[in-house]
Symmetry: C2
Subunit: 321 residues, 2 copies
């Protein structure tokens, strides 16, 4: 299942599978934010999802689609944090063991959360190549079922269920925006926008400091990103193969934002919506505020992907604990 | 109406009046917070209410109960912030003018919010006596209908609607906690706990640095508080006459917390629930975490009163904007 390209029906099936197992997170808005943005903007609060990020949807969907007779007892992945926590939580709920390869530079609370969820951690250098090499080395030592953080049809379908809930709200969405890193969230979101609404503009938001999706989208050829120090730690991965196919086919535009714009957006969401979001989520918010997209509409849905940050490290939240 | 002592029926009537006009704010929880607290704790998110605080409920209820034929075109109050914003918003929604007496030391964004809501501001010194004197002087110049921030039956009844929503959730509440300043929120909350649940323990949480409610409750005589610099800027007022009657009759315990406990609680709510709350809200959270209450149960409802803070002034959120 995980090897094919998912479709809208796969997202709907995932939603049925996940019902009662993932939180139907709230959808929020704030008049003051709308004034700043010059349009109606509603936020899907996946920062309030189990594990503090949308990742639980994809990880759990991937595990729930495993053949029951395959005898799988151990799962593994590489992750800068949220997918690792999500997979550990999903594995624990199903009685499986979980090991997570974590690259250097991962946010400290995310690593702690993986451990708190019962996941075993293996450290590696930063960057997609190093992550994959470390995972391969791990598997050579101890076989496990790998759940890729984004380049997997079941993971993408699971992530799409957030957009399915959002775009089912009673509002005439003309635009939906999600951040893009590896591309699991934007891939699932695009499937839903096309399958459910058809005419909705789909915008992927990316840090300019890790703009492989932008360059891939523009050039038509999937390019990777090396080690990057964007504050949006969840978006440092290179876009996946399946994810690039969906990006190319179903996404209308990729907008890049600066590090300063990301930090400013985090702060505005805290002020206006009283919500703590992580920098990766703020990338999508910053894309709205920048008005840089050529097809940004008037009724915008934004997926807030997660809320796991180290308060002591946050640029405007200096630690004095 | 505003001069009598409100009852549970008044809260139910207020809920009917406010339906569709105030937000039914979400009720949230976090497993991680429950682990810290050693019990189940759910939060009523009035920081997400219109105006960023529960105050909109009471202010709007007070204006909606005005006789339509009284010819009132101007309202006024004194407020350290949230009630002022709430009254200005409620007045604007009904086509009335609003003036707010604001004491020195009020949080900057709260003052800005009053102005943004169309309220006119008159400054005065800090402290209950100074606030009342300045309001009296204002009224001598220009007559207006005064909506007291807490010592008013319609205001108390309106504030109680937050607890009515919270305690109607499908959970076996054995404890409800709200902060106490002037006593509008705790008064309405206590009415609901008694009227709806009967057996529920009602705990008022107060900063030790402004412990007039604690001293009044303990001594049986209403005592005032002078100017205080507790970080919980919404709780600097002295408890009102009606509010003290309800406190004495329907509240089981008053718990005081330190300034450091307040700050730590703000941070934990941000980390665990991804929610920004103001220090006054954190007082109730700190009361739970302190385990200082003798009758703290296992199924606890906490009212998060508001979320309006100056991020640049917040102790662990130092400004580098």
């Amino acid at each position: 299942m995980g090897d094919t390209l998912p479709d809208f029906a796969a997202v709907v099936a995932a939603a049925g599978r996940l019902k009662g197992r993932v939180r139907r997170t709230p959808v929020m808005h704030a008049d003051r934010f709308d004034e700043r943005a010059g349009r109606r903007v509603v936020f899907k609060c996946e920062n309030l999802q189990t594990g503090g990020a949308f990742k639980y949807r994809g990880a759990l969907n991937a595990l729930l689609t495993l053949p029951p007779d395959a005898g799988i007892t151990r799962v593994a992945t590489h992750s800068s944090g949220n997918h690792g926590t999500a997979l550990a939580l999903a594995a624990r709920s199903l009685g499986l063991e979980c090991t997570v390869v974590v690259p250097a530079g991962a946010a400290r609370p995310k690593v702690a959360a993986i451990e708190a969820a019962g996941g075993r951690i293996v450290h590696c250098e930063a960057g997609t190549a190093a992550r994959e090499a470390a995972l391969a080395a791990l598997l050579a030592r101890e076989p496990a079922h790998v759940v890729h953080p984004y380049d997997d049809a079941d993971v993408i379908a699971g992530q799409g269920t957030a957009a399915l809930e959002l775009l089912s709200e009673p509002m005439d969405f003309d635009t939906v925006i999600a951040p893009v890193g590896g591309g699991g969230l934007i891939g699932g979101t695009a499937l839903v926008a096309r399958g459910l609404l058809g005419e909705c503009t789909v915008i992927a938001a990316e840090p300019a400091a890790a703009d492989d999706a932008f360059r891939s989208f523009t050039s038509g050829r999937r390019v990777g990103v090396g080690a990057t120090d964007t504050i949006a730690d969840g978006l440092r991965a290179s876009i996946g193969v399946r994810n690039f196919e969906l990006l190319r086919r179903d996404v209308d535009e990729v907008v890049t934002v600066s590090e300063a714009e990301i930090v400013a957006a985090m702060r505005l969401v805290l002020e206006d919506l009283k919500l703590l979001i992580e920098p990766s989520s703020a990338v999508a918010v910053a894309a709205v505020l920048s008005r840089r997209a050529t097809r940004l509409g008037e009724q915008v849905g934004v997926i807030l992907s997660g809320g796991n940050i180290d308060l002591d490290q946050c640029p405007f939240l200096a630690g004095r604990a």
